[in-house]
Symmetry: D2
Subunit: 284 residues, 4 copies
């Protein structure tokens, strides 16, 4: 499917998160261990926050493992808050407009997974997108449609509620059309301050998702490690597949959960899709 | 905007039409004389008919003038019926799914021009596409939406009527939304036998369109030319901008016309958009 | 490293050889079983002979598994003689000028393998290329340098002797510079009529290479198979990794061998590098 | 040929120099006024200095005018010292390894122009490159060979002397081979502190080159302009073609000159190629 990584903490070069760890995200583009596909070579994207109000986004259709521009960017751009995503296309074209993370204003959004039988329900889902947002849909992917549904349902005000409604709508439409197990995957979204990460699938066998133990605990575990000494107390990585293999670092996000990072506290709570209460139009 | 070329006649190497003439289509990618833009460097496409039932399509995001693969293909593929298109993007991304000619089954379609204020009426137009066709829309362009509207309105049975309804719908929706001069351009479509070429704009100041004089007449004009001796009697080129500058070769398609080539006879007739008689749904 | 395929026989659509077989070459771009690398996603190339004197060449930097243009070309171009190659880059850039097959005049050349510590001996090898050929070197790869050395040593007159001298020179220069196991790999070259395929490595542990049993024998083995009935008697595939898993189809080319296909007879003979007898200049 | 821009001064977003000015460099990629070619659509590159010791480099084969990644980078990366280059290829491939600026260690180098009949003298020039540097040549261009000749002749110690020797060698080899007017163009090189800019052609009709008036003078001329108030006193732009059309801003670098910016003082001095005193080897 895909693999992704979300970082928040003290400012670091992107390459410290993307390339340095053993079994790094870039390694996973060639050899993923836990992914539904072992190769994620159908493009990639990064989104990072810096001085300007909106995040920068870099999308490429080349495999990440051999992309010189990604290496240059990662070695020369620092950020305290960024997303990275490597893609394994299923059906849709390898083109920049299909690359994650998607952006609108201050918001980034990325997804590892899929909507089952998307072609059968795409029209009805796209119809439910706010007409004023509709012209901004740029690519072909199910993931981008979920993003625009979440924007329609208030992502910028209450991300968990908006994602619950978006996936709730996907499941409601799918039920009506006889599509089984409609949603699969993990999602991350951010406004540059908080990160909201979701793990959910209609069949309750979701793609993997991990987050790092808090840094003070890790420092106690590994008092000799210099890299931990340099990290800020609130630094967090959330990844679809662990980087490196240091014991005690990685914790699995439970099935059907939403993890919230930043804004003063971290939180893990249950995630349950709920279709929007307004009637969903039945398209011709 | 764009430039295009349609050929029908005896089988020739694509390069004979694309590269050989003075001021060839490939030259026009760098230096168009009559185009709204002088540079058409945002990708290109060719579609050609051969032994298989459906035409082959080659789309590239590179400027045509320096594309080695296009040169190779043109020098090694022969066809008796093909389309070529070079693109100057206005707003939409430079990606293969936005490149003309578009294809469905045996049909090819290409367009030079635009829908005015497309973002304002895109949703309503897309809603009018047959729901069973909707999932096949691949790109972002106004041109592809016109193609799918034409398919919805019976392109495969009666191309002029279908294009009349498609552009009629564009004009009807635009009128309701207060968009002026909604359609501009020239269109070519083919099923591998006939070619239908259209020149029309709502403001009656359409992009240019030319077709070649019939070959027997040209042979009388230029009895010494070997290239004409080799050509079949029924060979025709239709282009958005003349190639070469030999007197007597090029004839302008009149404003508001449809030209039909092949299937035993050629014909030039008036073109007038007419909105589909079935009520157009007013989208929310 | 890479994977390749060479076909000679009755004219077929390229897709019949590239896509149709189980475990096809295009499948191998994502999941090679025998390759030194399991992913060959750093571009690909095809070279095919048709009506023009020189073969057509199509090179792409995209992974073959998702390339629409390759699929279109393969579905619409027929040839009785063609090469295909998928690449796993080691060190050099992913760019069209590094894609195989390389072409000069009527000749094609492709390679799966590498020159060990190429940077250390590249200059001396390039100096040995005929100065009149030197400006035609386009890319960065060790493979292309071997091709130009072979051209320098008479590839067009006696391919086995020229390849023997080219690899002999590589080994001689490497010995002087203290580079061990300098050459590894399999090579195929053709003038559009014969195919010469080589399997050799300095350490005598060469990349795999297979050729198909002759068609009449296969027809006796599988009298019910329609595809064999359609094939010409002289059809041959040579591949770096077997396609499909039908018993009796694939024969391994022995270590240190040269196989010759076409021109009336097939032949398998020992391959032994021999440095060119003219003194090799010792570059500063 | 090409167009380029070099900036040194207070830290600014790259987009302030690349996109904001009227008739900006990115505009010039589509519509150059003074260039030998009006379209510079064969790729581009930027090189920028930041926290790490070596500059970042971003190379793309897409036309700059429609490249989303360039726009993102320019809008989100700030630097006090950067180069930008847009390319019009003449002969060599459109690939990242042919894009300027070229980099080695802390140094960047870019060129607008060409070596006449490069194929005829390329081998001899490449032979003159220090053998330890030779394997680092990545692309096919004449410009990169001039960079490596300059590195060979001491670019890192005395840039003007090294460029004088590099171009002196080009002219000496060309004279021996009967190539007239061998060098044409403008060059910029930097170590992240100084900028050395050269305007020279063997025929004394060099590509154009301009530098900005010093900022204090401009502030006196235009006391009301806020952008000048924000700029540091030592800010300079050097460009192959003026941006905007404000009187008093742009000064032409004289024919056959070298301009030096930074390191405490600016300087303009004559440039005269001089072949290296060590004998140039005459290659076979």
């Amino acid at each position: 499917m895909c693999r992704w990584l979300a970082y928040s903490g003290s400012s670091i070069l992107l390459s410290e998160a993307l390339y340095s760890p053993a079994h790094s995200l870039i390694d996973q583009s060639l050899h993923s261990r836990l992914g539904a596909e072992t190769t994620n070579g159908d493009g990639f994207g990064i989104g990072w926050y810096g001085t300007p109000a909106t995040p920068g986004v870099f999308h490429s259709t080349e495999p990440a493992w051999n992309d010189h521009n990604l290496r240059e960017l990662a070695d020369h751009v620092s950020s305290s808050h960024f997303f990275a995503h490597i893609r394994a296309a299923i059906g849709s074209a390898v083109q920049q407009t299909n690359c994650h993370p998607f952006r609108r204003g201050r918001w980034l959004f990325m997804h590892n997974g899929f909507i089952n039988e998307f072609a059968a329900i795409k029209r009805e889902l796209v119809l439910a997108v706010d007409p004023s947002l509709y012209p901004e849909i740029e690519g072909q992917t199910d993931s981008e449609v979920v993003f625009f549904l979440a924007l329609t349902f208030g992502l910028e005000d209450d991300p968990p509620a908006a994602i619950e409604k978006a996936i709730g709508l996907v499941e409601a439409v799918a039920a009506r059309r006889g599509v089984s197990n409609p949603f699969q995957g993990t999602i991350a979204t951010t406004d540059g301050e908080g990160i909201w990460a979701f793990r959910y699938s209609s069949e309750r066998q979701s793609r993997s998702l991990y987050y790092t133990t808090d840094v003070p605990t890790l420092r106690n575990l590994y008092p000799e490690r210099q890299d931990l000494a340099r990290m800020s107390d609130d630094a967090r990585l959330i990844v679809s597949e662990p980087l490196g293999d240091v014991a005690g670092v990685w914790n699995e996000v439970p099935e059907g959960s939403c993890g919230i990072v930043g804004r003063g506290h971290d939180e893990l709570r249950p995630f349950r899709p709920r279709p929007p209460t307004t009637a969903v139009p039945v398209a011709g």
